[in-house]
Symmetry: C2
Subunit: 227 residues, 2 copies
DNA sequence: AATATTTTTTAGTTGGGTCTAAAAAAATAA
DNA sequence: TTATTTTTTTAGACCCAACTAAAAAATATT
């Protein structure tokens, strides 16, 4: 019954797990714990164990019990496809529909599961092949390659350096709304005037305005490029 | 636990049933049979019985066993919301993404379940408040009113009358592709030159070209307005 | 090294939405 | 009006994806 060319299809739930395992794997190559996955999927660890076994059977993850999980090449390809769709839809929502950057995540979580290759390629063209989403995150190519942008965390910038805000490392609505309130948006020119040893907060001038304080917690989640 | 203001949410499957019951109810007020629903939902009659009981419990349909089903006002409101989303997304797919009218149905079947009121209102504005979808079907208003367009079936037009093609009563891809092949698209000027008694086919001149034959089966599914 | 704690897995349920097979009701034909 | 056929419903089962409670493994502590 099963053919070499069988086109295995992915359920909504499976796609979510693969996407979350991908997110948790970015930037290192340790295996991911069951609990970590449970937290992001908003499910219980027991449910995760079940699903990991199923994903492993389908060849999308490597999973040994008690040892954690990581994506197989096939699983990573699926995950990158979901992330590509998610980010392209976010661009659409902001650029064409007029949403703010803090409003698009939930809607894109739904749109990322729409299944149509031709739609996503046409959408890409319609948006003029954006390289990044509204939060500065790179959009994987249709061949499943995630561009590496190599940005730095604002929290790692030394005093007296200048940089440009290129992205955020977190897209919760409250965080983004705070940035907006502080005049921190993509492309903003930042000048780190001082790093305060006491609480690791920094004094930053935004677009040449008088410097304001930015907490370490916020700075950690802001991505910049030195200028 | 349950509040007067509880916002009951609809599953994918429930939305499909409500939409299909709506489709089957258009134009008359007889109750719909279990089998009719089963055919369109691509499920078995037994599954339909189950679901109708559930929909009735939630107050979205009136259902007495063995007596058929019809939408309640609440159910009709939900159904019209789905149809509205389906048709707006179809306009988007054709007008903005460059799909042909025979390619959009399946994708819109997925997009119609995306849940975001603000998205659909923004989409409506982005598309400049279209009145009809790419097949000429009216788009329900956001208040849940289905505009009545009052078109005639081409099969009912008398010889020697002129009319304009305003819509189609069927959106299967093969049917739409045939129309395209015959140069029959929305807005085409039609002149019914003859009605052939033998097979009820008609001879029609399209945009002043020499007349061609159109079968009764095709003519039945073409909607026109006399000029 | 032995014990306590945390993490993960197993076992057994549940709910949603489907199915098949068989029974019951309604519609049709004799 | 009775018998036959068709339609619909019931009963019992399955799969998916979640859950809780309890057991087992891994990790941390004394």
């Amino acid at each position: 019954m099963s053919s070499k060319f069988a086109q295995m299809s992915t359920s909504f739930a499976e796609e979510n797990y693969l996407k979350i395992i991908y997110r948790l794997s970015e930037g290192h190559d340790d295996d991911i714990s069951t609990n970590a996955v449970a937290e992001l999927t908003q499910t219980k660890a027991a449910s995760v164990t079940d699903m990991l076994r199923k994903l492993a059977e389908k060849g999308w993850v490597h999973y040994q019990k008690y040892q954690g999980v990581r994506l197989s090449p096939a699983g990573e390809k699926i995950a990158l496809g979901i992330v590509r769709k998610h980010r392209l839809w976010e661009v659409f929502l902001v650029e064409k529909m007029g949403f703010n950057w803090d409003e698009v995540h939930e809607i894109a979580e739904q749109l990322e599961h729409i299944e149509s290759d031709s739609l996503i390629e046409k959408l890409d063209a319609f948006l003029e092949f954006p390289k990044t989403d509204p939060h500065g995150d790179p959009i994987p190519t249709k061949n499943g390659v995630m561009p590496e942008l190599g940005y730095l965390h604002l929290s790692d910038i030394k005093a007296n350096k200048r940089c440009v805000l290129m992205g955020v490392a977190k897209d919760s609505a409250v965080f983004l709304q705070l940035l907006t309130k502080m005049q921190l948006s993509l492309g903003a020119a930042l000048h780190v005037e001082e790093v305060n040893a006491f609480d690791r907060s920094i004094s930053v001038s935004i677009d040449n305005a008088p410097a304001v304080f930015i907490s370490h917690e916020v700075a950690k989640n802001i991505l910049v490029k030195l200028t």
